[in-house]
C-alpha cells in the first residue's frame, strides 16, 4: 500500500512515519504539510491510502477531501476527539488519536487489508484522473456538519438542484457542488444512466420498470424513488437492456 502522510507539523509526520516502520505493507511515498500540497501530491501520485490531519492551516482535511475527484482510503489523525469525528460514526474508515497508540494503528491497517482483499482497488495505473470512476471508487461528501465516504455502487440516484446535485444513498441525500453534466462525464455509463434532464440513476438499483405516457418509462428505485425516463432516453435504455 502506497501512503501519503498529510499533517502540518513536521514532528507529527516524523512520529507517524516512525510508527509505520513496523508495517512493511505500508510504504510512505510522500508527505504534505497542508491541504494544497496534499491535493497536488495525491493527484500526482495516486496513493492507496492517506493519513490526514483534520486541523491544518489554510483548508482543513475535510475541505481537502471534498475537493478531490475521488477519495483514496483515508485514516484521519487528530489530537482530540472533536464533534467533527462523530459525523463519521456511520461509515468511518478510521481515525487515530494523536499520540497514536501502536495497537490502534495496527487495527486500522488490518481493517484496510480486509477491504482490499474483498474489493481490490482496480486501475492503479497512471493518468487515472482522466478515466471513468469505477463502482468501487468512493467519493467524500460533506453536507454542513455531516460527512460521508460513499462508494459509487451505493448511490441510487443523482438529482440536479440548480448548480448542485443531490446524492441519494441509504437514508441520506446530501448536496454536492457538481453539475449533473459534469458528473455524467465522469460516470461509467454501463452503471449510471441519464434518465432525463434532471436525473441520473444507478441501473443496479432499479426495482421495477413500468411503461409510462408518450412511450416513456417509469423506474422505481430500491429507495422508493420514482423516476421518469424521457422518450428519447427510453429508446437508449431499451437498447442497453436488450443486450
Amino acid at each position: 500500500m502506497r501512503a501519503i502522510i498529510i499533517d502540518d507539523e513536521r514532528l507529527a509526520r516524523a512520529e507517524l512515519r516512525k510508527l509505520l516502520q513496523d508495517f512493511p505493507e505500508v510504504e510512505v511515498i510522500d508527505e504534505a504539510a497542508n491541504a494544497e500540497e496534499g491535493i497536488t501530491k495525491i493527484e500526482a501520485q495516486n496513493p492507496d491510502l492517506i493519513f490526514l490531519d483534520i486541523q491544518m492551516p489554510g483548508r482543513t482535511g475535510f475541505d481537502m477531501l471534498s475537493s478531490l475527484e475521488k477519495s483514496p482510503n483515508v485514516i484521519f489523525t487528530t489530537a482530540y476527539d472533536e464533534y467533527a469525528l462523530k459525523a463519521f460514526e456511520v461509515n468511518a474508515l478510521d481515525y487515530l488519536l494523536k499520540p497514536v497508540e501502536p495497537k490502534r494503528l495496527a487495527d486500522a491497517i488490518q481493517k484496510l487489508h480486509f477491504i482490499e482483499t474483498k474489493e481490490p482497488i482496480i486501475g492503479n495505473g497512471e493518468n487515472i484522473n482522466k478515466s471513468l470512476l469505477t463502482e468501487n471508487d468512493q467519493v467524500f461528501v460533506k453536507d454542513g456538519e455531516r460527512c460521508w465516504f460513499v462508494k459509487l455502487s451505493d448511490i441510487r440516484l443523482f438529482e440536479s438542484v440548480g448548480n448542485y446535485a443531490k446524492v441519494f444513498f441509504g437514508n441520506n441525500k446530501p448536496l454536492i457542488l457538481k453539475s449533473l453534466n459534469a458528473l455524467e462525464e465522469r460516470l461509467d455509463e454501463k452503471m449510471f444512466f441519464r434518465a432525463n434532464r434532471k436525473h441520473i440513476v444507478n441501473l443496479r438499483m432499479i426495482e421495477k420498470i413500468e411503461p409510462y405516457f408518450n412511450g416513456g418509462l417509469l423506474l422505481e428505485l430500491k429507495g422508493g424513488e420514482k423516476i421518469e425516463v424521457s422518450r428519447r432516453q427510453t429508446v437508449k435504455f431499451k437498447e442497453m437492456m436488450s443486450l
Partner: protein
C-alpha cells in the same frame, strides 16, 4: 432565630412599657381621682395582659400562616382579629380589675357593658398599631432577606463562572504537545525533557488557579513562555515570538491564565491558520494608571470577531467580574496584517 426572638420580646416589653408610662403620665397630669396603688395595679394588669394577649395573637397569626398571605386577602381577616383581640383584652382587664378590687369610684354608677365598650375602643387603638408594626417589621425583614439571597446567588454564579473559565485549557494543545514530545524523544532527547517540564508547568498552573483570583504577572508570563516554547516546538519556523516587557510590571497582579488565553487565541487565528505562520508579540507596560497587556499577531480581523468564541468573551467576562468597569479589553487591527488584543487593568499600589 433566637436573635429574632429576643428582639421580639424586647419590642413587646418596650412597647407595652411605653403604654404603661403613658397611662401613668395621664393619670398624673389629669389628677386622677384613683389612689396611687389602684393606678399602679391597673398599669401592671394592662402591661401583663397586653403582652400576653398580643403574644397569643402572634402565635395565632403564625399558626394560620397569615404572614404569607396576600394583603387583599389578609386585611379584612386582620381587622376582625384586631377587634376580637381588643374585646378579649378588655374583658380580661375589666374582670381582673373587678377581682383585684381595682375599680374606680364611678365603677358602680356605670354599667359593665358601657365600660366594656369604652375599653374596647381604647384597646383597639393599642392593638391596631401593634399589628401594623408587626406586619411592617416582617415586610422589611422579608425584603432584606430576599435581597441577601439574591446577592449570595449572584456571588455564587460569579464564582462558578470564574471556575469554568479557569478550567479551560485546550485539550488539542495538550495532546498535540505530547505527540511532538514523543517524536522528539528520538530526535532531540534533551529538548524532549525540557518540553515535559514546560507542559507540566502549564498543567500545574491551570489546576492551581482555582486557589487564587489573581497571580503576579511574572508567574503568568512564565507560563506563557513555557506555552510558547511548546508551540514553537510544534510549529517550528512557522512561529516567531517577540517580548516587550517593562520589568516593573512583573509585580502587578493579573487574573491567572488570561494572558495565556489571549496568546492561545493569537496562535489559533494568527499562526495555525496560515501556511507560512507568523509572529506573536507580547507587550506589558504602564499606561497612565493602567497596566497594559497586549498580544499582537500576524493576521487580519475579518469582522468575524463574535465567531471567535470562548476565549475572547471569557476574557471580557473575567475582567468584568474582577474589576467591574475599571478594566477594559479590546481587539482590533492596529496595522495592516497585525491584530492586537489589549487589556487595561487598573494599577494596584503596594
Amino acid at each position: 432565630m433566637t436573635n429574632a426572638n429576643s428582639r421580639y420580646w424586647l419590642c413587646q416589653v418596650a412597647g407595652w412599657g411605653v403604654v404603661a408610662l403613658a397611662i401613668l403620665y395621664f393619670a398624673h397630669a389629669y389628677k386622677s381621682p384613683l389612689s396611687t396603688n389602684v393606678i399602679l395595679g391597673r398599669v401592671l394588669v394592662v402591661f401583663v395582659t397586653g403582652i400576653l394577649i398580643t403574644h397569643t395573637l402572634r402565635s395565632f397569626l403564625k399558626w394560620r400562616g397569615w404572614m404569607f398571605q396576600s394583603i387583599e386577602k389578609v386585611v379584612p381577616k386582620l381587622l376582625a382579629a384586631v377587634i376580637v383581640t381588643s374585646v378579649l383584652f378588655s374583658l380580661i382587664v375589666l374582670v381582673a380589675f373587678e377581682l383585684l378590687g381595682l375599680q374606680g369610684p364611678q365603677g358602680t354608677k356605670v354599667t359593665f357593658l358601657f365600660k366594656l365598650l369604652g375599653s374596647v375602643f381604647d384597646n383597639t387603638l393599642l392593638i391596631f398599631p401593634w399589628v401594623v408594626f408587626y406586619y411592617f417589621y416582617h415586610f422589611i425583614e422579608k425584603n432584606r432577606k430576599q435581597e441577601m439571597d439574591t446577592l449570595q446567588l449572584e456571588a455564587l454564579i460569579k464564582e462558578l463562572e470564574l471556575k469554568t473559565i479557569k478550567a479551560h485549557i485546550n485539550p488539542h494543545f495538550i495532546f498535540n504537545s505530547l505527540n511532538s514530545i514523543r517524536a522528539l524523544i528520538d530526535e532531540n532527547p534533551s529538548r524532549a525533557r525540557t518540553a515535559i517540564t514546560e507542559l507540566s508547568n502549564i498543567l500545574r498552573s491551570s489546576m492551581q488557579v482555582d486557589k487564587a483570583e489573581t497571580v503576579t504577572f511574572e508567574k503568568e508570563l512564565n507560563i506563557v513562555k513555557d506555552y510558547l516554547a511548546l508551540e514553537n516546538m510544534r510549529f517550528e519556523d512557522r512561529l516567531k515570538v517577540e517580548y516587550e516587557i517593562d520589568e516593573d510590571t512583573l509585580d502587578q497582579q493579573v487574573p491567572p491564565m488570561m494572558l495565556q488565553t489571549l496568546v492561545e487565541n493569537a496562535i489559533k487565528h494568527g499562526i495555525s491558520k496560515h501556511i507560512r505562520g507568523g509572529t506573536i508579540k507580547i507587550i506589558s507596560d504602564f499606561k497612565n494608571h493602567y497596566h497594559e497587556l497586549a498580544v499582537q499577531n500576524t493576521g487580519n480581523l475579518n469582522g468575524g470577531l463574535n465567531a471567535e468564541g470562548f476565549g475572547l468573551s471569557s476574557t471580557q467576562n473575567r475582567l468584568g467580574l474582577l474589576y467591574g468597569d475599571k478594566a477594559s479589553f479590546e481587539i482590533k487591527q492596529v496595522a495592516p496584517s497585525i491584530v492586537e488584543a489589549r487589556v487595561l487593568i487598573p494599577v494596584q499600589m503596594n
